[in-house]
Symmetry: C2
Subunit: 270 residues, 2 copies
């Protein structure tokens, strides 16, 4: 819940300053704090925030909760595009054609702030810094997607899963939670779709990272034991070597193993 959002007509409202804080952009100094207010709407887990093809008119900011955004391809297959959480902006992809290009679905109960697109652009015209910030947010989104493309086309399954976990950790950190120990809000299926892998591969990879002592997993409970190693991991050592090594001084090995598994090292340890 927003620290100081207030109730009015039975629903929560936030002012411009609160919205800017949430988006991590500087609020305009000249702000007329009271005359622009933003309504909150609550969604239950499983509910859709917007659908593909639906007429676009409002952006959403996540105030609390976890979501996924998905594409549905021509054969009805769901493709996960992102896992928005507190502070993220949803619906930008609707600006282009005035219809949402993706679907947003709540993974947990969510509190969303509505920002009518008209209000959004009007504010940009009034506050120069805000317009700048809006371009920034969109540019940031483009960079984020570029990173995703790089990751999808260049990394192995192990590296994808490892980075996914560290990225999640960093986002939890930014939100003020522990970045080392957290609960996944999505299924293996959804992680797999997001990373371009099958759910079985995700499950196996998590088990392997667990074996190696880089993380601990139990169902959706994750502990990042060696975040540095995870972040730079490129590929796992061959399975046979892994067994023996994992029984040795795992911590030490993990640090030497990166960024690339070293054959001589493996030999030396066996």
């Amino acid at each position: 819940m927003s620290d100081s959002a207030w109730r009015q007509q039975g629903s929560l409202w936030s002012n411009l300053r609160q919205v800017c804080d949430l988006l991590a952009i500087p609020a305009p100094a000249t702000a007329d704090q009271e005359d622009t207010v933003f309504q909150h709407v609550r969604f239950k887990a499983g509910q859709r925030i917007h659908r593909i093809g639906q007429a676009f008119d409002t952006l959403y900011i996540v105030n609390s909760g976890f979501l996924k955004t998905v594409h549905i391809d021509e054969y009805g297959n769901e493709q996960v595009l992102s896992f928005p959480m507190k502070g993220d902006l949803l619906g930008i992809d609707g600006i282009h054609k005035q219809h949402y290009a993706s679907e947003a679905i709540a993974l947990s109960d969510c509190d969303m702030i509505l920002v009518p697109y008209k209000t959004f652009t009007a504010l940009g015209r009034v506050h120069v810094e805000l317009e700048q910030a809006m371009f920034n947010v969109m540019s940031r989104e483009i960079v984020r997607e570029q990173m995703m493309i790089s990751m999808l086309s260049a990394l192995s399954a192990e590296a994808k899963v490892a980075r996914f976990l560290t990225n999640l950790g960093e986002r939890f950190n930014q939100m003020g939670y522990s970045g080392r120990s957290f609960n996944l809000r999505m299924t293996r299926q959804e992680i797999g779709s997001y990373l371009g892998l099958t759910l079985e591969t995700v499950s196996r990879t998590l088990s392997a990272l667990n074996e190696l002592g880089l993380i601990s997993v139990e169902q959706r409970e994750i502990n990042l034991i060696d975040p540095v190693a995870l972040k730079t991991l490129r590929r796992l050592p061959p399975a046979k070597a892994r067994i023996k090594v994992s029984e040795k001084v795992t911590a030490l090995v993990n640090k030497n193993l990166l960024p690339q598994w070293n054959g001589e090292l493996a030999a030396a340890l066996n």
Copy 2:
């Protein structure tokens, strides 16, 4: 070359109307056509337009020529992100951190229009329609990248290459060239990087599509013979079946083969 760009101080210049036309956005009716002009700069094949980390201050619009944009990962590997051509806007990813997040390299001689970011935002403030158009362009870019992400994580190698070709064709069409028969401006290596495949897989896949009669390839010369089939192709029939089938009524088969290869059909034909 821009239809009506003019020379001044030894280099070409375009006005706002020309720039808007190029970007396929409506030019502001109220435009003061003469007081904002944009300089052209020419780059030779192989030259860099901007580098990663370089201070950001200008956007580029492709007036003619072909380029690639790339990420360089922490180990120096190049990851191709896009192949910009006429009408495309470059450098948006630099807004976020005020430093370019990617590198743009000319694949052929190029004529680029410089748009200082300050000019860009200033124009948005003066012409409301322009600000709207700028958001549109950025949203379009986000949607394009989302499509790319879907494609990378869900499609087979054959489908990726097939879509790559039809997408290229569509862009050539929009530029007024033939969308059926064109020359690739990039190497197999670069296509592979873009699609998350090795250059060998790209080469083999092109050969296979050629075998099937869906395209013809000779070095960098491409002919799209059955664009509809290419666009909806999901996976190729097994290699053994392919040989026999390709010797039969290929055209007919191609049409029935989609969107998914049908086992009974293959059996019936053999």
